[in-house]
Structures are given as C-alpha cells and as structure tokens.
Amino acid sequence: MSDTVTRRADVTLGEIFLAFLLIGATSFGGGVMAYLRQSLVDKRRWIDDSTFVQMVAMSQSLPGLNSTNMAVLVGDHLRGTAGAAAAISAICLPGGLIMFAIGMVHSEHAARPGVTAMLHGVAATAVGLVMAVAVQIGRKVLTRVDDLVFVALAVIGVNLLHLPVLVVLVVVAALAIWWHRPRTESSPPQAK
C-alpha cells in the first residue's frame, strides 16, 4: 500500500452509516471481523483484502475494541473524519439500544429466581466463550515461544499481584517492544 489515503468520493456518508448499522445489528456471536470482511471487502468492495488485513492488525494493537477501531479506520479511509464518525456511531447504535433496554429490564427483574438461574447459565457460558476467544487469538498472533513470557507476565501482574491493568499494560508492553526492538544485524546490508 503506497502511503496514499485513497478517498473514495463515490461512497456517501449515508451509505457508510447504513453499511455499519447493518453490521452492528446482525453480527451476533462475537465474530464481528468476519461480518466486516464480508460486507466491506466481498459485498461492497470498498477496500481490498490486503488493506483490510493491515487495518485488522492495527485495530488489534491499538486501544479500543477491534470492531470500533475497524469502523474508524475504514470510515476515515472512505470519507475522512466524518466517515469515521458515521461508521463508529452506526456500528454501536443497535447493540447500544439493546443493552440500554436490557439495563432497564435487568434492574427490575433480575431478582426473580428463574431469571437469576438463567443469568448464571449465561455467565458460565460467557466464561467458556471469552476463554476460547483468548486462546484462538493467541494461536493466531503468537509465533514465538519467547512471546509466552509476556503473556504470562500480564496474567501474573493482573490476576496474582492485582496490579492496575494500566500499570501492567505500560510495563509489559515496554519490555515486549524492547525485546522485539529493531536489530542492526537484521537491517538491510549496507556498505561499511
């Protein structure tokens, strides 16, 4: 990808909003990335596959949810700041309304024994779900054994030492980035 931000003037803000609203309303089950790829790359051809993959990598290493980061990056790519704003608000809107409604209902009915029992079941399922997501992402992005040290350090810091997540994030990230620092040996050979 050669540096340029290819503004696609033919995609309107309304189209961006609608596309992300649909993704936000239909992406059940957590795999938002798959829905994004299908909509943006396969169906609408707004971005090509290699741009999509690059944006995914960036979304994962920046703070913020992967799905909302993708919305910002794709929206910006298509229509600048306004496109980014349209995309992120649209992808959040359906789920946000649903959770707002659940919040209202939950305060009134959560104490009923039947509801509590069902929620216990949902919570147990969610634990299995998030564990599986963590392991699947780990399998994909961890390519070297030494990376496991940083995974372990983060877990020890948060779960055993009960340090604030921010402290763990900053310290372990600094260590890991330094560990993967650019080595002079691996730089392109230059005449001495």
Partner: protein, 175 residues
C-alpha cells in the same frame, strides 16, 4: 445525576485499557464499578457483561446498561461517548500517522511487542471473569464444555449462550 463526571472519567479511563479487546479492561471495570463506586454488585456486573456477549455489534455495548443503571438515559449516553470517543480519536490519529511511518523500524517492533501483551490481558480478563462467574462445579463444567465446543467446532457462540440460559434454568433453578 451527580455521578455523571465519575461515570465519564471511569469509562474514558477503561477504554484506554482495551488493548486487544474489551475483555482486557474487565478486571479494572469490576474494581471501579463494583468496589470503588458501588454502582452495581459483582453478580450484576457479570450478568450484564455476559448478556453483552449475546448482543449484536461491538461486544462492550454493555457499558450502556451500566450507565443506564446509574443515571438513566443521560448516564447511558455519557458512558457510551466516554468509552468510544477517546479511543476513536486515538485510532483516527494513529491510523493516519501509521501509514506515514511505514519505513520506521520501530513500527514492526511495536506491533510484534503488543501482540503477546494483548493476548495476556485477554487471558487475565477471562480469568478475572471466571473467578466471579464460576461459583459451582456445575458452572465450571458448563464453561469447560462451551470452551471445548468452540475450540473444536464452528458452532455459533450466540446459540451456545442461548443453550446456557436454558441449562441455567434447569441446573441453577432448583435453589
């Protein structure tokens, strides 16, 4: 209403911790909303978080439910803007800068260094959620079964959560 400033700073702060995914911020989410501000109980938070996994779209829309509990519509709006605004701006700025830094040698280092940290924080979040959510051997068995199914098959997670609710009614309903 007096809680609005606290809601805004808590969720703006939490959003910056979500490297790798919303789950990374869960331990801090629990600490701040339950232990420090007493906006809800640990069980209520876990239930809302779990329900948030079934809702469509980004998997942290449950923050809207927390905002609603504390301060109604205004609370929900404040929380959503605080949670998605700052990181949205960071991503917008970094996305533009990143393209310009293509030749910068530390770019690769940052990307490769952050990957294991993100996985570690996701795992830490899962453990923290598990500690609060799994209070019986039955719960542990359900979580293990779901984990095994998701790792080995391509079953839809939303369907499993639905099964979890029904199973919960039978397994935990007797108490």
């Amino acid at each position: 209403m007096t809680q609005i400033p606290a809601l805004i700073w808590v969720f703006a702060y939490l959003s910056l911790l979500t490297v790798g995914g919303g789950l990374a911020a869960f331990p801090e989410l629990k600490y701040l909303t339950v232990d420090v501000y007493h906006w809800l109980t640990s069980t209520q938070l876990i239930h809302l978080y779990s329900l948030g996994q079934v809702a469509p779209g980004p998997n942290m829309m449950m923050v809207a439910a927390v905002g609603e509990r504390v301060a109604g519509v205004v609370g929900a709006l404040a929380v959503v803007i605080a949670f998605f605004g700052p990181t949205g701006l960071v991503t917008l700025a970094t996305g533009r800068l990143w393209r310009r830094l293509e030749g910068w040698r530390w770019r690769e280092s940052i990307q490769r260094g952050l990957a294991p940290v993100a996985v570690g924080l996701l795992l830490a979040g899962s453990i923290s959620l598990a500690r609060g959510a799994l209070t019986s051997w039955t719960g542990i068995a359900v979580a293990a079964a779901v984990f095994a199914l998701l790792i080995s098959t391509r079953i839809n997670p939303a369907f499993l959560v639905l099964c979890g609710a029904v199973a919960g009614l039978f397994v935990f309903g007797g108490r």
